[in-house]
Symmetry: C2
Subunit: 338 residues, 2 copies
């Protein structure tokens, strides 16, 4: 079994790691939800077979070697105990898989960097996506927030139902013009997962004391034309600013990437506690479009309302404890250290 390493809150190597086995035998996801295994060195707060949700779900399907990164599907991994969280009562497997990364991201960019307060306005790009959906629900927990959300027209009815005040079809309209028509002075916060020239547009759309939070470069990776020229253009057009320019604008530019937050377990744990509380109050709820068996991914439709989930079959690859396919009891009994 591969260990992915672990770092504790103070930045030194952690002695608290746990083995996790993927999902239930009936439904297994590429992201997230797992049954807990044994504690490798120190007993954690979890018991064997508690249901937990690991923070960096991608870790569950990747191992690294000295030459680079190989992406593999694994049955069992070791993760830092402080990067796992007990699933709330009543949360489904699919919700758990869609919960942590999307909602932690949306929460921290809206409430920590964005400092969202009542009566403010927010522009959310890719509003029907994972972080977009989470951000909309979190905006609705604050009084009288005006939400502009970009998405293709077929999703607008659903977005309005979710609480988006002004859905904008970015494919047929200039979203900057559309926002300015409704709010000539711009908005208080822009969440920018796009990068490239869209970051500059976002900056210009901010009101005084406005915050632009960039948390992705979707334009670099996708875009309507997937070619090197488009990627180079996105790179070339990326937003850049110096301190003197910023001084004259009364604006904030923030960068966010949860993947670089692995040493901040206390910070993340605080955010997850707040999110679980909001989930238990029924104020937030991950939106799953559909669950797809891995073999059928190629027939997956291009337009989703919420997240796609991948259901991955059990594997029989080499490694310690790989014998376990029959059932949970038998699995753990077959492990040398259990």
């Amino acid at each position: 079994m591969q260990s992915l390493g672990a770092v504790d809150a103070s930045g030194t190597s952690s002695s608290s790691e746990i083995h996790l086995k993927r999902g239930s035998s009936t439904l297994q996801h590429s992201e997230g939800r797992l049954l807990i295994g044994e504690s490798l060195q120190e007993p954690g707060d979890w018991e064997i077979k508690d249901v937990v949700c690991p923070l960096f779900s991608a870790s569950l399907v990747c191992v690294t070697d000295s030459l680079g990164i190989f992406w593999l599907w694994q049955e069992v991994v070791t993760v830092p105990a402080n990067q796992t969280f007990l699933m709330p009562e009543g949360m489904s497997f699919e919700e758990a898989a869609a919960f942590l990364v999307n909602y932690i991201t949306a929460y921290m960019i809206l409430f920590d960097f964005g400092n969202l307060r009542p009566n403010q306005s927010v522009l959310i790009h890719m509003a029907a996506g994972g972080v977009g959906t989470a951000a909309i629900q979190l905006c609705k927990t604050v009084e009288n927030v005006t939400i502009f959300g970009t998405a293709s027209a077929s999703k607008h009815d659903s977005l309005r139902e979710s609480g988006v005040t002004h859905p904008i079809d970015y494919r047929t309209m200039d979203y900057v013009e559309e926002v300015r028509k409704i709010s000539p002075k711009g908005v208080n916060i822009v969440l920018d997962p796009l990068g490239g020239s869209d970051t500059s547009k976002a900056f210009n759309l901010l009101k005084p004391m406005g915050k632009l939070i960039t948390y992705g470069v979707a334009n670099l990776l996708t875009g309507q034309r997937k070619n090197l020229m488009a990627m180079a253009k996105t790179w070339w057009n990326q937003f850049s600013i110096n301190a003197l320019q910023l001084l004259h604008h009364n604006k904030a530019v923030c960068g966010y990437h949860l993947g670089y937050m692995d040493e901040e377990s206390d910070l993340i744990a605080g955010v997850v506690a707040k999110l679980v509380s909001l989930y238990n109050q029924g104020k937030i709820k991950p939106k799953i479009d559909s669950v797809w068996p891995f073999e059928q991914v190629s027939s997956l439709e291009q337009s989703s309302l919420g997240l796609y989930m991948l259901s991955v079959p059990p594997l029989s690859v080499g490694g310690r404890c790989h014998e376990a396919d029959a059932g949970e009891e038998e699995y753990w009994e077959s492990c040398p250290s259990s």
Copy 2:
């Protein structure tokens, strides 16, 4: 009499301007405190002789013409009514002169951009200055905030009394090293009035989710060697960042300049209301080092604890209503429209 023009909250020309006459006959300051005059076009909320404090006190001593800006001492000016605020009960003339610009700045950079919360840490440069003093007092209104403050050693005792947890003598020590000794991971917020290479140091000193707020370029204007070479160096070394770099840091960079906020009267009025409330609760109080007659400015000492105030004598320059030196009653009686 010169009109300095006015802009209302919605960004159009304001019809609500007021005449202000400078200070009392016994004490007059280069910054701020004035007796109100008449309402030029629309009656405001103030009455003649209410005591108000105008936002942009510098406006009171400058007029512009088509060739540029001339700095003059004036007895009487016209300012936008929505940029004036009633002085709280019990506030002295000196406090009023030191109140608005410093405390609005400190409040907005700490609580709006900085999003300061309990148990966080802040680095305040020029901690004994106007904004620095205000920022320290405002930090103390939040539970368990650790304050690092740079100032020359002679001011450290006073800073400790004010609430600075760790005063640092920037002249004899490397403040970055000193902060790291105490807090290896850095701080949550840096208030940067310095610019140049200090902005880069500030950025590097931030913890994940940390906020750097630049609100001045003191290094460009002063510094220990006042020469063109030092200015060029500050300019050359100024902090610059692009969106992709920022994305990997989980940090915010914010620029603040109250002078560009003249259209944001609602925003400013909200901040002033909170500041007046804190003043009335005794939680904040401007710190005046000393009051200096204008003629004695040349003998002013170089090291202050709090603000210097300038006391300016009455003038007898040309213009409407310039006859007024004898007393307030006679002054207003001599004005054609009173």
